[in-house]
Symmetry: C2
Subunit: 418 residues, 2 copies
């Protein structure tokens, strides 16, 4: 049986980065750049004022003070977006706004706060300026023909803003993975339907779709199939428009666990068990030329195997450089017991306290107990051979919702209000 | 002038949680629950098997070993989703699948791995079972009529899965804030258009929209207005369908900074300067009964003021409990200088290294230098009166992309590939 690391390695070796496509800047939010953004213009495109004030010849302001101001003749007014009308020569000043082009002849801008109106169309400068003061030079941010954003760059708000500043409306980025979800099991009813005796509501379709969306990927389709092989096969064949297929249920050892058989017949099963708890009966392979994961049907097992195995595959397909889930070290707040054997992952809540993280399991644990995962933002890792961990020990946590794990103080943006 | 904390306090005191609405489970991903999810059924809905195996009377298996197995007559087969056909009495066993209802009479399930086929329709049990073994009791996860998810709960994949498991198709959650973005300045050209002399491309519309979307909110509209008050007023009046309005540019002290004047005339300006760098000229107030932020036009200033002031407002409006941006302590990798006065926020890259975080500024800083923000995932805080920070000092960072700050090792999911 593979360890989690061996399984992750097998998954990452097997999946490939998806093709790139041209998309609008906001469509590309969170995507990974596939072709560089090369500056077609310098940024800023021209020397411009960093302040509202007066464009001057610096030499004219030498020794200026409030007590001994230098009077200059105001020869123009340069709002942002206009072109300066005339040269600023010795003894002259042009009123200039932030972002407006610096007029020919001027070599400094005096902030409006260091000036006051003078008599008869003049301005009094109250402090000396050095050449270059308050001027943003053409190309200071990005030189023309420079690579502003390299391939591999994840596109957040600032990166998209830089592309827009260079005049781009689109970028070429790796396509978002489209994921198909197939839940199996004739015991499953759709939420909202009447629950017949012996049936339960299908929660995996929603929770796996939530994981897919939270990973920045798209849900291509959600299907349900019973326990018979033909139905499962038909459902999986219906997923040809997805980049990756996730099934839930039907990968254990029982007679009614048909998913593994269908995957083996339609494609290749690379592994079907991993030395972990929960999540031991998890399959990975390929069908229809696409990676496929057979997750266990227990809802907590499905969540854990998604985070540890499916999410890394989606990160690699998205073009990310580092694909493993983020981890941190944390101080354990309450002891936990463990039966040596498989590595165990407990649903847990990690938060930032002072100079480091602390972690505690989030309620009664069990692969079928969804309440243990409510409010959890991490998985507490219990090593294979350990017989338990004591309060105060340093442990490793896998962060499934990192935005809450480094939060200010004890409260956490409402993720765990109870 | 307000400090950042005073400004945040004024913002949070002024904005209100938005109304709630009924939404489908996946629409609610990332939203905050407004009405409790109360269990209409127990979870699980009936006693069921945790394993594939045989439902037995535990007493029948006492002392069973591989050498001395107990033979039981197989009286039935219970796939998941069916109702057991007959009672399991002494000397009997029913083949049972994971999730199937435990038949009347049986009080334990023996894993299939601890059995082997016997002669003539019997099964041999190879290990003793205790009453309750491998049985998941009705209501063990959630009792009927129990509050499964309380108001205030942030809805992630597991919380939505729990709601689905209880049969819910919809929840009542706080509406996602809809944000209108108005950029001002007659120097701005739309990306893709020809750049006339003196003009620059509008980057704020895209980067602010990116920040809004990354906050889990919606962009109601994106508008551009020139520098004249009537145009700005018309644009702001066109934002009545938004829950919050963000403008960029036009809040400084110059003659062409008209946004502040329009806001004061249409509504109320609560503050218009904050003791921070960049971002001093930032306005907050209300127009049309909606909160409005006037962000500075410099692109980096707009990003910083969004994270520190607008994002907290959006979190409160979304129903989150803790609204301030997540922060962490980190070890500074390279010294930085600072002119005492305003608190400064440098674009920085924080990563997890060993047992704690380290941080370094991300390139040449400047309120107009978007390249400083490329690949940054945090803001390095330099206190007001400090004259600089040395390498090795413990500093505070505001995390703008926390998912990369706690990443495994030095590499970071590709956020900073260079």
């Amino acid at each position: 049986m593979l360890t989690v690391e061996q399984a992750q390695e097998a998954v990452l070796a097997s999946v490939s980065v998806l093709p790139s496509e041209r998309m609008s800047l906001l469509e590309a939010l969170g995507c990974v750049l596939a072709e560089p953004v090369v500056a077609g213009i310098p940024l800023p495109p021209f020397d411009n004022s960093a302040m509202d004030g007066f464009a001057v010849v610096a030499e004219d302001t030498r020794g200026a003070t409030a007590a001994a101001p230098r009077g200059l003749t105001v020869v123009g007014d340069i709002p942002a977006g206009t072109v300066p009308g005339r040269r600023v020569g010795a003894g002259m000043a042009a009123r200039i706004m932030t972002g407006a082009p610096v007029p020919e002849g001027a070599d400094a801008v005096v902030m409006v706060e260091q000036s006051r109106p003078g008599a008869g169309g003049t301005v009094e400068i109250l402090a000396p300026a050095k050449p270059g003061d308050n001027i943003r030079r053409m190309g200071d941010d990005v030189a023309a023909r420079q690579t502003a954003l390299p391939p591999g760059q994840v596109l957040g708000p600032s990166e998209l803003g830089l592309a827009a500043a260079l005049g781009c409306t689109h970028v070429v980025a790796t396509r978002r993975p489209r994921v198909a979800i197939v839940t199996t099991g004739s015991e499953l009813a759709n939420p909202g339907e009447e629950l017949k005796p012996g049936a339960i509501y299908d929660s995996n379709q929603v929770s796996i779709a939530g994981c897919v969306l939270r990973s920045g990927c798209e849900v291509a389709r959600r299907l349900h199939a019973g326990d018979d092989e033909p139905a499962i096969e038909e459902a999986i064949r219906g997923c040809a428009d997805a980049d990756l297929i996730v099934t839930a249920g039907g990968v254990s050892v029982g007679d009614y666990d048909q998913v593994k058989a269908v995957l083996a017949r339609l494609g290749e099963v690379k592994f079907w068990r991993v030395l972990m708890k929960p999540g031991k009966p998890v399959a990975f392979g390929s069908v229809l030329g696409r990676p496929v994961f057979g997750l266990p049907g227990n809802p907590v097992s499905a969540l854990v195997t998604f985070e540890l195995l499916v999410a890394p595959a989606l990160r690699k397909m998205s073009g990310r450089q580092n694909c493993l889930p983020p981890t941190a070290r944390a101080t354990l707040l309450a002891g936990v017991r463990h039966e040596p054997g498989r590595r165990e992952y407990l649903q847990a809540f990690t938060r930032y306290a002072g100079d480091g993280c602390v972690v505690e399991p989030s309620g009664k644990q069990g692969s079928a107990l969804l309440t243990s995962a409510v409010g959890a933002n991490s998985l507490l890792v219990i090593p294979e051979e350990c017989e338990g961990l004591g309060a105060g020990e340093q442990v490793t946590v896998v962060l499934t919702a990192p935005e809450t794990a480094l939060d200010r103080g004890g409260a956490t943006c409402g993720t765990r209000p109870r």
